[in-house]
């Protein structure tokens, strides 16, 4: 248990030099992570994995601000990587955790991020198996940056974009735009931060429940809708499939306050990053059971069909307006907003 006097300290360069202060910091972190950490302090983790393929992914997290409503950089660092494993059909098992800390970071803030990371890892059922900590000088980072690399195993066939077919329905597991609006509001003090919270969540539990409830090929493929937003996901699929994807504006789940803020800021919810939302490509015959299962889960209560994959062999994403007019959704040249995860 860390003492108050330790928590009241700040990160200094010696916390990253490998000497005594480093060791004390690592002991502190291992203590906070508790049984979520199963590393053995060897130079590599040695892990049992079942025979067959593994899924592996990595992600870095530089979210600004690092602490926000319904989440923080610790929670995102687990959710981002766990969700990337889960959407390809893998069971997330292990994470590594690398940190870049800026001198001056209050250890109490680090503690907060670690507690959140631990609790999210517990919820997701993953273990932290290895870690690394580097410390940089003032201005060389921004408080705390994290990287997690994840390993998952397959108990069922992997899901790929190319498995999607014409006629498949596009389902969203929840509202879009909230994470982005919340973060921008906290950054600038816009007044929306208490009404619109981040959707940050580990989605592997919901995906497991879904895969158990519906036939194996009911969900052809899925993506977590993160950086670049729904638009980026749809463009990725349109390119991979060589088809036109069409969504209905009226069906898009965008909260009133989020649309209000997006209108004010001049941003499009379609381009907003999310941290707890899935886009699923679903066999039309299984849509009802997919929706029913998603809606029975706390993270999928507002699941909805937003469109379909057409048989038009042109790579494009189209939006059907409330007046019935069809317009093309352009792919963004670059990220609309930086540091959202």
């Amino acid at each position: 248990m860390a003492t108050d006097s330790f928590l009241d300290q700040q990160i200094v360069l010696d916390h990253g030099t490998g000497a005594r202060l480093s060791r004390e910091l690592v002991e502190f972190m291992v203590g906070v992570l508790g049984d979520v950490y199963i590393g053995e302090m060897e130079d590599s983790a040695m892990l049992p994995v079942p025979a067959g393929n593994i899924a592996m992914t990595t992600d870095s997290f530089v979210v600004d601000p690092p602490f926000f409503g319904n989440g923080d950089i610790g929670k995102i660092a687990v959710c981002g990587t766990v969700n990337d494993l889960a959407v390809v059909g893998a069971e997330p098992l292990y994470l590594t955790l690398a940190m870049i800390l800026e001198t001056g970071l209050p250890i109490r803030r680090l503690h907060q991020a670690l507690v959140s990371l631990r609790d999210t890892a517990k919820e997701a059922g993953v273990k932290i198996v290895a870690g690394d900590t580097k410390v940089v000088g003032p201005g060389e980072a921004d408080g705390i940056f994290l990287n997690t690399t994840g390993i998952g195993v397959f108990h069922r066939a992997p899901k790929r974009m190319t498995d999607v077919r014409a006629g498949d329905r596009i389902v969203l597991s929840g509202p879009i735009g909230n994470h982005t609006v919340h973060l921008l509001s906290v950054r600038e003090g816009l007044g929306f931060e208490k009404n619109v919270l981040s959707d940050c969540a580990p989605l592997n539990g919901m995906i497991d429940a879904l895969e158990e409830a519906v036939p194996a090929d009911a969900v052809r493929s899925m993506r977590d809708v993160t950086r670049g937003g729904l638009s980026a996901v749809l463009h990725e699929y349109a390119a991979a499939l060589g088809r036109t994807l069409r969504i209905e504006d009226a069906a898009l789940p965008v909260d009133f306050e989020t649309r209000m803020a997006a209108d004010m800021l001049g941003i499009n919810p379609l381009n907003c990053a999310n941290e707890g939302c899935l886009a699923l490509f679903v066999d039309p015959d299984s849509v009802d059971s997919v929706l029913k299962t998603l809606r029975a889960h706390p993270y999928g209560e507002r699941a909805v069909v937003i469109g379909e994959v057409t048989d038009r062999a042109v790579k494009a994403v189209e939006l059907v307006g409330e007046d019935g007019k069809v317009s093309e959704i352009e792919e963004l040249q670059g990220a609309e907003l930086p540091r959202l995860c």
Binding site: R187, E188, G189, G191, F192, E193, K194, F256, M260
Partner: protein
């Protein structure tokens, strides 16, 4: 005690004098705007000035040419323009766009029994919008006098007023607000239906 408070935003030397467009826009609005504040004071309504104070450690705060941070605490640039100020007014410091963000504005308004806020000031598309939205979320009846909102560019002001009218506020000329208060003693609350 009146249940109505006028909130002004950012009517400060550094912020008004940032560029000629802002200076011109404020000059044009000043006679009617300051007259409205006087009218409201004379009728016993509260006037609260939201004074932006930029913190040196706020990396998001906009810096002017040469890296100068405007509106720092204790500087002339942070002061409210005297034409808008009266000794009976309330001054509340804020560090971000919304006047409610990490300030005691809500607590002070509650202590005064305020139910209706009239949001004014500069700029329409930033601080007026965010303060009005924040007030709306907190349950206040929000009004915005269209001639007491200033933006450097007209189209920003027009867009901001449209947004306010559509989402969270009743937008009307200041004279209409005063006359409505004189005739009925209150400002009716507009109902916004969320989908």
């Amino acid at each position: 005690m009146s249940k109505v408070a006028v909130l002004t935003n950012d009517l400060q030397y550094d912020l008004v004098n940032k560029n000629q467009e802002r200076i011109d826009a404020v000059e044009e609005a000043t006679p009617g705007f300051s007259g409205f504040l006087n009218d409201m004071r004379e009728r016993g309504h509260h006037v609260v000035h939201l004074q932006l104070i930029n913190r040196e450690d706020d990396l998001v705060a906009e810096r002017y040419e040469g890296g100068r941070l405007p509106a720092q605490k204790g500087t002339k640039g942070a002061e409210i323009l005297p034409v808008f100020l009266d000794e009976t007014d309330i001054l509340i410091e804020k560090n971000k766009d919304s006047g409610f963000y990490e300030t005691d504005l809500h607590e002070q308004l509650q202590a005064l029994g305020v139910e209706t806020v009239i949001v004014t000031g500069m700029q329409g598309q930033i601080c007026v919008q965010t303060t009005a939205a924040d007030a709306f979320f907190r349950g206040y009846n929000v009004w915005v006098p269209s001639d007491c909102v200033v933006s450097a560019r007209d189209h920003d002001k027009i867009r901001a007023l449209d947004w306010l009218d559509g989402y969270c506020a009743t937008v009307a000329p200041s004279a209409e607000i005063v006359s409505t208060l004189d005739e009925t003693g209150e400002l009716p609350r507009k109902v916004f239906r969320t989908p």
